[in-house]
């Protein structure tokens, strides 16, 4: 659906050249929800703007929906944009237009006749759950409602790709969940490809199939969300994964427990997918003569399965402890002994 080949984007500023996107190769499949995560300044904003030609790459090729968008003229690019729409962190609605008029705007741009516009606007208002709000002005809506208008507006011309630029970053957690649910339902109902950028791992975890991690303009890690969660390679990815799997106070608790139980072993179990459903813990306790203490537990749900970490303190006969660790390994749960270093 979308493919980037050796794409770079440099900005010339008074302070020198800034490389916002550095030699990126990506393939985004039809119908998937693809997340790009990175801290601010990682180049993800520039990256998503390359996908609809709002920014032109300095080098490389970008193919969207079978069209090479880097070399086509403005007129053709405008046609492409009818099928590759975008929603924004700050919604970017026109305050001078009502909800219905905002949603009708892209239809006006595409030259849709008035009758059809009205019908389509009503459909969209219903789709995003804003019935009865058609004649409101954006200033009369909450953040979540504004983003719903943004989504309805983006869907007006029946796009094939939806680009989400930090679409939930300005919303509170509850509204974020509602908007993410809406995006998933649109993805399933309309089969449209969604590319989103975010700095929140929760967003990736909740709705993405695949993820790319960006740092300093480069994609440093890429893969299925579950795999990345299970086995993060880069330090930055580990930091992002720990956002959702390990509350910050955990490491302190471990330190305390290491002090209190110098003889025991602290083991971090990482469950992925099916294993989460298995009663590993009860078997462990039944089979081995050990004291098992749960230090920290956290199960998160990603779109393709549950992901969890469990930190256990196992105390008892040294041999039995090693046996127990081997047993857990056999369950295909990744284990990590936490040491005092």
């Amino acid at each position: 659906m979308i493919s980037l080949k050796d794409v770079s984007k440099k900005f010339k500023t008074k302070l020198g050249t800034i490389i916002a996107v550095d030699d990126v190769n990506l393939d985004i499949k039809q119908g998937e929800i693809f997340g790009i995560i990175g801290y601010s300044g990682a180049g993800k904003s520039t990256m998503i703007r390359l996908l609809n030609g709002l920014e032109k790459p300095t080098a490389g090729q970008i193919i969207v929906n079978g069209k090479e968008i880097t070399s086509i003229n403005e007129e053709k690019l405008r046609q492409v944009r009818h099928k590759v729409s975008m929603i924004f962190q700050h919604f970017n609605l026109l305050w001078s237009r009502t909800v219905a008029e905002n949603i009708a705007f892209p239809l006006e741009i595409a030259g849709v006749p008035k009758e059809q516009r009205l019908a389509r606007v009503n459909e969209l208002i219903e789709l995003v759950g804003l019935e009865g709000r058609g004649n409101y002005y954006p200033s009369q809506l909450s953040g979540g409602q504004k983003q719903r208008v943004g989504i309805a507006r983006a869907l007006a011309n029946r796009p094939e790709v939806l680009l989400c630029d930090e679409a939930t970053s300005a919303l509170d957690p509850e509204t974020t969940d509602a908007i993410l649910d809406l995006l998933v339902s649109i993805n399933e109902k309309l089969g449209l490809t969604i590319v989103l950028i975010t700095h929140e791992m929760q967003v990736i975890q909740k709705i993405c199939n695949r993820v790319a991690v960006m740092e300093g303009g480069r994609v440093v890690e890429e893969g299925d969300v579950l795999e990345v969660f299970q086995n993060p390679q880069q330090p930055i990815t580990k930091r992002f994964v720990s956002q959702v799997s390990e509350p910050t106070q955990t490491m302190q608790t471990i330190q305390n427990l290491l002090d209190i139980y110098p003889n025991g072993k602290l083991i971090k179990l990482t469950f992925v997918g099916e294993q989460t459903e298995q009663p590993i813990l009860s078997r462990l306790i039944k089979q081995f003569e050990l004291e098992v203490n749960i230090v920290q537990g956290n199960i998160s749900h990603t779109k393709s399965g549950a992901f969890g970490t469990l930190i256990l303190q196992i105390d008892g006969d040294a041999l039995a402890v090693d046996e127990a660790i081997r047993f857990i390994h056999e369950q295909k749960v990744s284990t990590e002994v936490i040491n005092n270093d």
Binding site: N52, R81, L94, W95, S96, R97, A110, S139
Partner: protein, 222 residues
């Protein structure tokens, strides 16, 4: 009572002058709005990162605006006499005031248009571009509607300046309350005529400000 306070005021003449002032203000405001908007849009669209980004065009427009905005109006009228004569074949009467009024006021309004356009959220412009909007669509459906309250309050201020300019144009014989106050009031030492002309101008200015504020408030949905 009013005749004892203003013994020298020739009322039919006063009303005729008031009407001339109104006429000059109205027509020159419309023309100023058109030229000022065009200049302001040109200034905005040729600035860096905009649709027609062009350093030379931006510099030239900026220089034109700055030069004509800086020349004191009374001097501008005199400088424009040959131009007015060429354009209208006369330099007397209300119509002869229009070139100077518009050339004096349009650059002033263009600056206010530019300020209004710059206040539009960049994200909204980006959103319109992301939808595949042409520059003409962006001008008509985003730039103008989204800056409308600023454009209206700007033209209100400009219109009030134009009332003042018409009075100055009166000195060189454009007609209106300015001419009346100068010739009948000042030169013949009839203070009551000058005072009455002033009162009428004040009433006109208050009405313009009131209408401008009302319209601005009504269209602002932010």
């Amino acid at each position: 009572m009013i005749n004892t306070l203003f013994p020298n005021v020739d009322w039919p003449k006063m009303w005729e002058a008031a009407f001339e002032t109104l006429y000059m203000t109205a027509i020159s405001t419309i023309l100023t709005a058109i030229f000022g908007l065009a200049l302001g849009l040109l200034l905005f669209l040729t600035s860096p990162h905009q649709a027609w980004a062009n350093k030379l065009a931006n510099w030239l427009t900026g220089a034109f605006v700055n030069i004509f905005r800086s020349i004191p109006f009374i001097i501008l009228i005199i400088l424009l006499i040959p131009f007015t004569k060429l354009l209208l074949d006369t330099i007397r009467g209300p119509n002869a005031a229009f070139p100077a009024l518009v050339i004096g006021a349009a650059p002033f309004y263009a600056r206010m248009v530019l300020i209004g356009l710059r206040e539009i959220d960049k994200g909204v412009l980006e959103a319109a571009r992301s939808m595949g909007a042409k520059t003409s669509t962006i001008i008509l459906k985003v730039l103008l509607p989204e800056s409308l309250p600023a454009l209206v309050s700007g033209i209100t201020v400009t219109c009030i300046s134009l009332v003042g300019y018409t009075a100055m144009a009166g000195i060189i014989g454009a007609g209106g309350l300015g001419t009346l106050a100068f010739l009948d009031g000042f030169q013949r030492n009839r203070t009551d005529v000058t005072l009455m002309a002033t009162i009428l101008i004040l009433i006109l200015v208050f009405i313009i400000q009131w209408i401008g504020d009302m319209v601005t408030m009504k269209i602002d949905k932010r």
